[in-house]
């Protein structure tokens, strides 16, 4: 059979394809629906948090930080309750990471504050002596992209039925409404911050990346 296949490239290719495609179908498909189900109480991100998540992705925070607490005592002692599948139901993409150069951030909102993040992002070693994390000063000057965040929330609502605007769920509404909500949410963060330029920019109606990413990090609980 193999000699015959080696003279017939078409059937050879079909054979290879069947052999390699098989595993994907068997491993990914069976639990697909169940794995997509949210935990009770898990909510989709607000537009501001989503904009912060985009900043997190833009600077590849996930290259050094995981968001996956494994069920070991050493991990739950350090980071909090172990992760459950349903908690990730609204994470598109997932941000589990594959390397912990820095600590896990799955529940960082439980034990860090706005003020801590502000100082830390500007100069990590001032908060954590010996830290090898780069400083992210540009987050204080770059403006967060609320529009794209809204576009994404709107997309997942209409394409994947993510339950925005439902009872007990974050409100999305129209773009005008969403802008107002985002600014109100950002106000709470900015009030806790010290940087005068971020405050001035916010007074002009600009939400800086640092505000959005802090909103996101605070939401990780």
């Amino acid at each position: 059979m193999f000699h015959w296949l080696e003279k017939n490239p078409f059937f050879f290719a079909v054979g290879v394809f069947l052999v390699i495609a098989y595993a994907g179908i068997v491993t990914v498909l069976p639990d697909f629906m169940e794995s997509a189900r949210p935990l009770k109480g898990t909510k989709p991100y607000t537009v501001l948090q989503l904009a912060g998540r985009h900043v997190y992705i833009k600077d590849s925070c996930n290259a050094c930080h995981s968001q996956m607490i494994r069920p070991f005592k050493s991990e739950t002692d350090r980071y909090g309750k172990y992760s459950m599948s349903g908690e990730y139901a609204y994470d598109r993409p997932f941000l589990w990471g594959s390397k912990r150069t820095g600590p896990d951030l799955m529940r960082v909102g439980n034990y860090r504050t706005t003020n801590w993040h502000e100082i830390h992002m500007y100069k990590p070693s001032s908060m954590v002596p010996g830290s090898i994390m780069p400083s992210y000063k540009h987050m204080f000057t770059n403006t967060a992209d609320i529009e794209t965040a809204y576009a994404e929330a709107y997309t997942v609502k209409s394409v994947f039925n993510v339950p925005y605007d439902e009872e007990d769920m974050p409100k999305l509404g129209t773009w005008e409404e969403a802008q107002k909500t985002a600014i109100a949410e950002a106000q709470l963060i900015v009030d806790d911050m010290k940087d005068p330029q971020v405050k001035e920019a916010f007074a002009r109606g600009e939400i800086k990346e640092i505000v959005a990413i802090i909103a996101y990090l605070n939401s990780l609980q």
Binding site: Y22, M84, V159
Partner: protein, 488 residues
Amino acid sequence: MQSSNVINYDYTIAKYFAIATIVFGIIGMSVGVLIAFQMAFPELNNLAGEYGTFGRLRPLHTDAVAFGFTLSGIWATWYYVGQRVLKVSLAESPFLMFMAKLHFWLYIVGVAAVVVSLLMGITTSKEYAEFEWPIDIAIVLVWVIWGIGLFGLIGIRREKTLYISIWYYIAAFLGVAMLYLFNNMEVPTYFVAGMGKWYHSVSMYAGSNDAMVQWWYGHNAVAFVFTVPIIAMIYYFLPKESGQPVFSYKLSLLSFWGLMFVYLWAGGHHLLYSTVPDWVQTMGSLFSIILILPSWGSAINMLLTMKGEWGQIKENPLIKFYVLASTFYMLSTIEGPIQAIKSVNALAHFTDWIPGHVHDGTLGWVGFMIIGALFHMAPRMYKREIYSKKLIEIQFWIQTTGIVFYFTSMWIAGITQGMMWRATDQYGNLAYSFIDTVTVLHPYYTLRAVGGALYLLGVFMWAYNMYKTMTASKAIEFEPQNASPMAA
């Protein structure tokens, strides 16, 4: 039957890709060395504002070496090996020649777009699949064009039986096509919402499903970019350079079909103790162990090909590269399964032992094989002898030292880190704060960066030797049968 020396093989495209391999190798590995030094000396993050931070550069490093250096190397060898084992010249078909040129130039445009977008922070965050949808479409197009060229050349072949290398090139084409398509299923948000950035998209899968599809992809991108086409190379270049026939046809058959079947199951080992279903994790673990068989099958087949001819290792530096590549292939394909055992993974996952493992494979196996392959091709493509044998010898030892620095430091770093994360004092409290487990790694990070720098130095020596071979070396009249001619 026409004999091979009557056919005038056309190496135009192979030469293009050979140069691309060298250029992207230098770029990708320079970025790698820079980010390695950043981990030891974090001030180096501030060299270029937001564009120079570890976060922006890390995806650039991985993608530049995987999809710049390695893919170019794969295609350089394909456009060389393909013609020769199929006994047909690319010049015989103007259509295939045109597709090959289109393949190259579209690919270069794609790589340029990738570099710019990653520096700007435009990324989907999925490892080795960071590109947003416009680039994804370009990549699919490049792939389809290569596929047309691949099957087109097979279609007009004179040698009816497909040589082992061709099996692996076909598998690489099909595997990457399938994986890439399914992992990059995404919805462009602009087309749904009519606002926001036009190139932004959102993944079709969420949470655990997204993770499962991503690591089915991520693991098997390693299979079909870093393993399968590299095996295609060694099955051609080692027998050719040494003049020895492949040790066993049956073993190559077993390894090929075994590898095809087993590899795809092993992706779950990236997600051990995560929230994907338990049975998927167990399958991933189990199949990773089974994977040793077909992996070692190929490696042993290559090493036994040298049976009775080990003296060539001393005489011919290219054989050194191939034999050490097979050896590193064996090392990384035993190391991977060990890390995939659940209890070992509990310690190793998230630590530096993982990049250590990756670099055993990429520096030792992929890098050495591509470097050795292009050295073999050079005298045949440029009709000149290799510029300097001595330089190859020195390069070999510098790079080998670099790899040893790299994996030893990362083994120690990873295990230290893993042990410290779980260490407790006599009352059962965690013994170390996280930052303790970072600062302790400084010497190992430094040593790793030095190892990487040595390897990069070797790449520069390779580039110089290749450049001199193209331009200044002594011309040869006849194509060498086996051992590549080189000036002392």
